[in-house]
Symmetry: C2
Subunit: 168 residues, 2 copies
DNA sequence: GAGTGATATGTAAGTCTTTACATGTCAAGC
DNA sequence: GCTTGACATGTAAAGACTTACATATCACTC
């Protein structure tokens, strides 16, 4: 088992949670409610599903209209998913453009630094509004709460930093 | 100008902040105080510096002992850096193993879910301690504050979630 | 002077991710 | 019947990143 393979886990997790689905469905979910958790486009998802089928983690359960292929998780896939949840020590995201801009703020004139922080603030604000509009059902409740907590913390940091920069 | 190239910006930002440095020095900084902002190993940094020199963003200012090469940022590099800071709209990190585990918590038994959240909590706690031990000087103050805010928010989420899961 | 560990730089292979390209189906409205 | 837009799947090339491999210098200790 490789170190990363979180795309696999995300796909297995979705299939286990919502039941059989097509690559297209899965891509829509990544683009929508799973947006703040894990992102992947269809060009990454389709080949990965083929590989996962070859590895026995999913099967093509049915083929529908328009070439639609419905994938279902296998018992081996469930096992892989559970093993990862039980054993994998998650790492914090190690690359953040926002943190990088925050780190480099000292290079800017005051007015420009304020503009940078205001842009970051807007990003966090938009994220917060997106998550607040989401209202998750029985799934994703905890990830939703985490996303909200992090967005609020980022927003608070932006406001504190604007105060610190002496924004009038 | 490509969309990503944040490694370039991070390198330019460091060179602009601390002055001329070798790839080795820069790798050490990424591994140390810049850890929570941007990460990169020497195998990524060395070839990138060569490309940046070819693009005129940095120059080899001197060669020291042990094949040590000292890179300095050029005026063109400064321009590139400033343009990015002024114009680039940063995106939120879109992939988080922690958020993925949080999203999939509903698949676990209560005891195992608690174990997962406790592992996440330990991660945030460790991050918080690392940042609290850091005491940044004149540089990186804002990124440090942001890192602390996010780590504290994550920790708080973990505690709230443990309560929610009815941890005894 | 031999060994060890920190310093210092690099290449190669493989994986992960994005962007651009390419194809075809089906439903609804005109 | 034609157009448009959502549905649906894929490939190819390029870029970003990790892991493993490879080499050599220098300072210090034994």
């Amino acid at each position: 088992m490789l170190a990363a393979m979180s795309l696999r886990i995300a796909l297995l997790g979705l299939l286990s949670t919502v039941g059989p689905a097509s690559g297209y469905d899965l891509a829509k979910t990544f683009d929508g409610s799973l947006n703040h958790v894990w992102q992947a486009g269809h060009t990454q998802i389709y080949p990965e599903l083929v590989k996962m089928a070859a590895d026995g983690l999913v099967t093509v359960e049915a083929e529908g209209a328009r070439g639609r292929k419905i994938y279902a998780i296998t018992p081996e896939g469930e096992r892989e998913l559970r093993t990862w949840m039980e054993e994998h020590h998650p790492v914090l995201p190690a690359r953040s453009e926002i943190a990088l801009q925050a780190f480099l703020l000292h290079l800017m004139e005051r007015d420009q630094a304020i503009a940078v922080v205001e842009r970051i603030r807007a990003r966090y604000q938009a994220q917060l509004e997106k998550l607040e509009a989401l209202r998750p059902g029985r799934f994703g409740r905890h990830a939703h709460a985490l996303g909200l907590a992090l967005a609020r913390a980022g927003l608070q940091w932006a406001d504190d930093t604007l105060t610190d920069l002496g924004k009038t």
